[in-house]
């Protein structure tokens, strides 16, 4: 496919004179048909008319709010009264207040559960089931694994809060195994609450990663597997020689999606623990909501939002580059 794209004739060279000026009058189909060469160039600039509506909505409801978050973060404002400019004070607090730092630490701990576990499990499962996940059984399996993506995260949190409760399935199972000493209300336990909510993320993300990897493996040239077999490669060397390199792009996609979900998690935490017990599971997302909409500390909430955004971009953009380099 990509070779077919390469063979296509190159784009017309860009205009050297400020071309935007010439095209204020909108589409003029008759003229364009009469002047085919001009038409091709003019068409490229007219293309902006197609892009503009989307850009406009995007600017008003995404770019403008983002710019305002930056602006708010330099003010002390309760949302009602006058705002006072405070320079970098809010950022200083984000980086010195142990309670706020702990939310960021929790967000990074969640990456283990939202990203690392789903991708490792997804890789193992998808390479084990590659040959059997076909036909009707394969369809049923894919549908089932996709279910956690379909139900709202709030519903997932409600289901898992029930699983983790004193009467829930987790404790029930432990009791049956004779491990009564380990039973506890998991989400109310200071040590276990964070791993417990993290595992909700693993539950949501593992199916997605597995299905993505399976569809990625379907694209890998079958002859590579045949060749590996001929060379006497076992499952493990086959995995590292054929499967893993072939899935580079899918892995990149999974890392991106799950890392954003981990760092910016809100729904699951809000609906399962609200950050508790104490602040044991407090994450930036819920903290921003709390600061801005219940504590009326708009500036501090905004500063935390900006720090969170920078962290997310710093983690995710390098992966985008790695993935797109492969395409180039």
């Amino acid at each position: 496919m990509s070779s077919a794209l390469d063979r296509r004739s190159p784009d017309p060279p860009p205009l050297s004179t400020a071309p935007g000026r010439n095209h204020r009058h909108g589409p003029q189909p008759v003229l364009r048909r009469l002047l085919p060469i001009h038409g091709a160039r003019r068409g490229r600039w007219l293309g902006w008319l197609y892009v503009l509506p989307a850009l406009l909505v995007y600017a008003v409801f995404v770019l403008l709010p983002m710019a305002r978050t930056v602006q708010y973060s330099f003010y002390d404002w309760n949302g009602v009264g006058p705002a006072t400019a405070v320079g970098f004070d809010n950022y200083e607090r984000v980086f010195t207040d142990p309670e706020l730092i702990s939310t960021i630490v929790h967000a990074f701990q969640l990456i283990v559960f939202f990203t690392v576990i789903p991708i490792l499990v997804g890789l193992v499962v998808s390479s084990l089931v590659r040959e059997v996940a076909t036909g009707r059984f394969g369809t049923v399996a894919r549908t089932t694994l996709f279910l956690p993506q379909i139900v709202p995260l709030v519903a997932a949190a409600i289901a898992w809060s029930w699983m983790y409760s004193s009467q829930g399935l987790v404790n029930q199972t432990l009791s049956v195994m004779g491990l009564d000493s380990l039973t506890r209300p998991w989400l109310a336990d200071f040590t276990w609450a964070l791993p417990a909510v993290g595992l909700i993320g693993s539950w949501v993300m593992t199916g997605l990663c597995t299905v993505l990897f399976l569809s990625g493996m379907a694209k890998i040239d079958k002859s590579l597997y045949e060749a590996a077999k001929v060379d006497g490669a076992g499952r493990i060397s086959e995995f590292f020689a054929v499967t893993l390199p072939g899935l580079r792009q899918e892995i990149g996609v999974c890392v991106t999606i799950t890392m954003i979900a981990a760092l910016a998690s809100f729904d699951v935490i809000y609906a399962s623990t609200q950050g508790g017990p104490g602040r044991a599971t407090q994450v930036p997302g819920v903290e921003i909501y709390r600061l801005a909409f219940t504590e009326n500390q708009i500036g501090l909430g905004s500063a935390l939002a900006i720090v969170l955004t920078v962290l997310v971009l710093a983690c995710v953009l390098p992966i985008q580059r790695l993935v797109s380099e492969k395409n180039a």
């Binding site: 496919m1 794209l5 784009d11 205009l15 589409p27 038409g39 007219l46 293309g47 197609y50 892009v51 509506p53 989307a54 850009l55 909505v57 995404v62 770019l63 403008l64 709010p65 983002m66 305002r68 978050t69 084990l128 089931v129 040959e131 059984f137 369809t139 894919r142 549908t143 694994l145 279910l147 956690p148 379909i150 139900v151 709202p152 995260l153 709030v154 409600i158 289901a159 029930w162 009467q167 829930g168 404790n171 029930q172 539950w203 694209k219 499952r235 760092l263 809000y270 609906a271 921003i288 909501y289 801005a292 909409f293 708009i298 900006i306 969170l308 997310v312 971009l313 953009l317 985008q320």
Partner: protein
């Protein structure tokens, strides 16, 4: 023999993962069927399943109103987002407008930055527009928030369509717009359908926007309404479980219905790659 063993391992692993995926939902179902007011245990099929609990949950959650509200929001968001995405994707992927790389970079920032980066000013912006506590407060920001994904998705589709097609249409006297309407849109239908499915899901399940911008649960999305249902009935495990299942039922049903389409879209993607 080893190939047979491999098959058995594969099937066993797959079944195990499927069971793990379904377990929380089955546990929720078993709780939802217990007599109301009882204290259920994790997973125990009741002797006398109380299917009537779903009717009570349906009424308690005001499901008809919720369905109507979520549907209105979807109708407000999805068609508009599809049209804007298709137009922009066409401009970027097929007409290759100058400056496309810059636009893509701008969209990428929006795609990867979290909603938390926008939610605080969105509240004040929509308050100033007088739209707080209306469905527009969810609809308008969602269209904007879907633009990065929608546009990049449609651009990827239009990149795969040979530009000779547009050129040929022009030779036949069609304008760029006519080529778009009559040639490219029909060809883009599968890509648009998959995008529509995803946007529908993400709208229906949108939570943060709903709880920040709309106080009245009957004007929220389904997920936002579930949040307030949880607040109201959080201590009644039976009714909460039934309510959660009732509220997630519509999306699960739509997903199961469109599953074939979804798989077909995936397969097409596989062939293209």
């Amino acid at each position: 023999m080893s190939s047979n063993g491999r098959r058995m391992t594969g099937i066993a692993v797959l079944v195990a993962v499927m069971v793990f995926t379904l377990l929380p939902l089955v546990s929720l179902l078993s709780a939802a069927l217990q007599p109301q007011g009882s204290v259920p245990t994790g997973l125990a099929w009741p002797n006398d399943p109380q299917w009537g609990n779903f009717v009570d949950a349906w009424n308690a959650a005001n499901m008809l109103t919720l369905l109507k509200s979520s549907t209105l929001i979807v109708i407000g968001v999805v068609p508009a987002a599809l049209i804007l995405s298709a137009l922009a994707g066409y401009g970027l992927g097929q007409l290759r407008v100058p400056g496309a790389t810059l636009i893509l970079l701008l969209l990428l920032v929006g795609l990867t930055s979290p909603l938390e980066a926008k939610i605080i000013p969105l509240y004040y912006q929509l308050r100033d527009m007088g739209l707080l506590n209306t469905r527009w407060a969810i609809i308008l920001p969602l269209i904007g928030l879907f633009m990065p994904f929608g546009v990049i998705w449609m651009r990827a589709h239009f990149l795969t369509i040979p530009r000779e097609l547009t050129d040929a249409a022009k030779v036949d006297g069609a304008t760029t717009w006519r080529a778009f309407r009559h040639i490219h849109i029909p060809l883009a239908m599968p890509a648009l359908a998959s995008l529509a499915l995803l946007l529908f899901l993400w709208t229906w399940n949108q939570f943060l926007l709903a709880i920040v911008l709309v106080d009245d649960p009957s004007k929220r999305t389904m997920a936002g309404a579930l949040g307030s249902f949880q607040g109201q009935y959080g201590t009644d495990v039976v009714l909460l479980s039934a309510g959660a299942l009732v509220i997630m039922a519509p999306t699960v049903m739509v997903f199961l219905l469109l599953q074939r389409h979804f798989v077909r879209a995936l397969l097409q993607g596989a062939i293209k790659g």
